[in-house]
């Protein structure tokens, strides 16, 4: 499933990112923030209006706002709390 489909509050790991659909600078910015293949994160909040955009993810002790287009490019798999 993609990060966009991940239920709120479920810890997950990014297994793959399709960098080709993202603007180069945006990809670089995401990686600089640690949002990359192998990263563990939790979807924390979603916007209210149509499309429930943007999204806020918790990664480490940081909260980062991203757009749905970014989340759609990321494949994630839920991980159990114990493994995380």
């Amino acid at each position: 499933m993609t990060l966009d489909q991940l239920p709120i509050g479920t810890p997950a790991r990014i297994t793959a990112v399709d960098w080709t659909v993202l603007v180069a600078e945006e990809g670089q910015r995401l990686r600089a923030l640690g949002i990359d293949e192998g990263a563990r994160l939790t979807l924390a909040y979603r916007g209210v209006f149509a499309g429930r955009d943007p999204l806020a993810v918790e990664i480490g002790r940081m909260t980062v706002a991203i757009r749905r287009v970014h989340a759609l490019a990321m494949t994630v798999e839920p991980v159990s709390e114990a493994a995380a």
């Binding site: 995401l30 640690g34 990359d36 806020a56 480490g60």
Partner: protein, 619 residues
């Protein structure tokens, strides 16, 4: 040792608490300017080493890596590498890390440390980490990084002496040569190392940032979040009007008393009139708005310091995306409510050039604090001070509507621009939401003082000069006996010519006259009206004493006043804004475009308001 003063630079991720640390280390004596050629703010101050030797401390823009993705990050990279024009290469790098965000911040830290330069690490905000249940071991981190690690709490001035001592020590040590044989470290490797180092440095860790999560749950709630934001903004505008009144009245009283004193002590002459009608009436009428400006900046600075500004950007992103912008544009636009100049300069953080240009072009439509004096004086004169609901005054409501009109106008213009002149791919929105923090009184006071000083300096220089120039233009040539002085003057002749164009939208001669000097600074419109009415009333001493508000009421109709307000919602911005737009867009093309479209909008808005109000029988 060389005679050049030692230069130290604060480097770190955004939200590492660099600015608070900078304020704590340097105190109030800061020099704020721009780096040459770019409009990235350069903040420098003085720090005393334990030996008493002064060090120039530079606060660099927050950065996620040496590979720059914005003009801000580019400056940080250039300064560190010693490539920035107008900035000596720093002798010591002070890496600022957020204690509760070590794993993230250690990634960029490694990149900086790999340069092999004399470096000291400030493990900042250790108190917040402790509050979050995080106990750190600075010694372990020091061993892992190979440079001194000093725990600091900028707001409580903890660790500052130790940090200064460490800077002195690092400066005197020889520079390590960059190890050429060292294999190139990739980002995933750095990240893995950062994870290891952070894990090793954390002694104990309990529940994660619960307070922030709980606050975000409410403030970012899909249904509760936006109403809370709007309620907050509404309170801000109510406060700007009501809290300031006693202070403004006091200043007003002081200015009148000074004018009376000058009138009483000086012999009657044209020079005395220049002093009382020109200088005191003109500058005084603008000075009265200092309390309102301070209150507005108080809220904007508080939003920034607490971390709520980023939440506002998050909540507004979807709406901004609707007009082709992103939540990132929200912060520059919100700053433009204070002044379009810092707002336009804040667009540097927008990475997409088309987004940035659009934001610059619409920023002047956000009601800046300089328009507040104009709104305030007209509203106070024409809108009755009645209550339309519990705690909601009609005057505050009208003010709120004027702000909303500017916002809606800006959104429509952005939508049109993004489909025409600034067409391009929709941009993204990636932004760290910093932890919530209580603002410190000292940082807030320092910020307010810097803003108030800019305003006072404007009042003392530009507004002072323009007011005197206007008074001279209004008083010469002198009128024949029985002739109106304003009509006879140079300014009156100009305004009479201009009012041919402006008459259809309800502007009388004095209003046409007021909008000319308002190009220099918008608040001058008020002092200009004050000067004009003081000059025209000078034959009749009784009338000169009548307050500006009453003067307006007796000379303008309600539709005229509303048209004047509508004009200022879109009014072409002041000269300083045009100058900053020229600098930010590297040419005259976009500022000219901005000027032209705003004139057209202002004319149309004032016209429509005047005709509608007249048709509705408000006249």
């Amino acid at each position: 040792m060389s005679k050049m003063p030692t230069v130290a630079a604060l480097v770190g991720n955004p939200n590492a608490g660099k600015s608070a640390l900078f304020n704590a280390l340097t105190g109030a004596r800061q020099k704020i300017a721009n780096y040459p050629g770019v409009t990235v703010e350069r903040k420098a101050g003085r720090l005393a080493l334990p030996s008493g030797e002064p060090v120039e401390l530079v606060d660099l823009p927050g950065s996620y890596g040496l590979e720059a993705t914005s003009p801000d990050e580019e400056v940080t990279r250039k300064v560190i590498m010693g490539e920035q024009v107008g900035q000596a290469r720093p002798d010591v790098i002070v890496l600022v890390l957020d204690s509760s965000n070590l794993e993230q911040h250690l990634v960029f830290a490694q990149e900086v440390l790999e340069l092999g330069r004399p470096t000291v690490v400030a493990l900042n905000m250790v108190d917040l980490a402790e509050r979050d249940g995080l106990t750190l071991d600075p010694a372990a981190l020091e061993a892992a990084l190979g440079v001194p690690v000093i725990p600091t709490v900028a707001v409580r001035r903890r660790g500052l002496t130790e940090l200064a001592a460490a800077i002195a020590e690092a400066r005197d040590k020889p520079e390590r040569a960059q190890d050429a044989a060292r294999p190139h470290v990739t980002l995933p490797e750095r990240r893995m190392l950062a994870h290891q180092m952070a894990t090793a440095a954390i002694l104990s860790e309990t529940a994660r940032h619960r307070i922030h999560a709980r606050m975000d749950k409410l403030l970012l709630h899909p249904w509760a979040g936006p109403p809370i934001l709007f309620a907050f903004l509404f309170i801000v505008f109510q406060a700007v009007f009501s809290w300031a009144t006693p202070f403004a009245d006091a200043i007003d009283g002081g200015v009148s008393a000074l004018g009376d004193l000058a009138k009483a002590t000086l012999p009657a002459s044209l020079l005395r009139d220049l002093l009382t009608d020109g200088v005191i009436a003109g500058v005084g009428s603008v000075l009265v708005f200092l309390p309102q400006i301070i209150i507005l900046f108080f809220f904007i600075l508080t939003m920034e310091a607490t971390g709520y500004m980023a939440r506002a950007a998050f909540l507004m992103d979807r709406m901004m995306a609707g007009v082709g912008l992103s939540g990132r544009s929200f912060i520059p636009l919100l700053s433009s409510f204070a002044c379009a100049i810092p707002g336009i300069m804040a667009t540097r953080s927008i990475t997409d050039p088309k987004d940035r240009l659009t934001t610059i072009l619409i920023a002047p439509m956000m009601t800046c604090s300089a328009r507040l004096p104009v709104y305030a004086v007209i509203i106070a004169a024409f809108i009755p001070n009645t209550k339309v609901g519990p705690g909601i005054g009609l005057q505050g409501l009208v003010l709120f509507c004027l702000y909303v009109a500017g916002i809606i106008g800006a959104m429509v213009v952005a939508l049109v621009l993004r489909r025409s002149v600034t067409k391009g791919a929709a941009s993204g929105f990636i932004m760290e939401l910093p932890k919530y923090q209580l603002p410190t009184v000292k940082d807030l006071a320092l910020g307010l003082w810097q803003r108030a000083w800019i305003f006072l300096r404007r009042a003392g220089t530009m507004i002072f000069t323009v007011t005197i120039a206007l008074w001279i233009l209004l008083n010469f040539p002198r009128a024949e006996p029985g002739q109106d002085q304003v009509n006879a003057s140079v300014a009156g002749t100009l305004a009479n010519g201009l009012s041919v164009v402006l008459q259809p939208i309800g502007f009388n001669r004095d209003m046409s006259l007021a909008i000319i000097p308002a190009m220099a600074a918008r608040e001058v419109a008020v002092s200009s009206l004050a000067t004009t009415y003081a000059v025209s009333a000078s034959d009749d001493e009784d009338q000169a004493a009548i307050a500006l508000g009453d003067q307006l009421k007796s000379r303008w109709t309600l539709p005229m006043a509303l048209a004047f307000l509508a004009w200022f919602v879109f009014a072409p911005q002041c000269l300083s804004t045009i100058a900053v737009a020229r600098r930010e867009t590297n040419g005259w093309k976009w500022p000219s475009f901005m000027l032209a479209y705003l004139f057209v909008l202002a004319y149309a808005a004032a016209g429509i308001t005047f005709w509608t109000a007249t048709a509705a029988g408000l006249g």
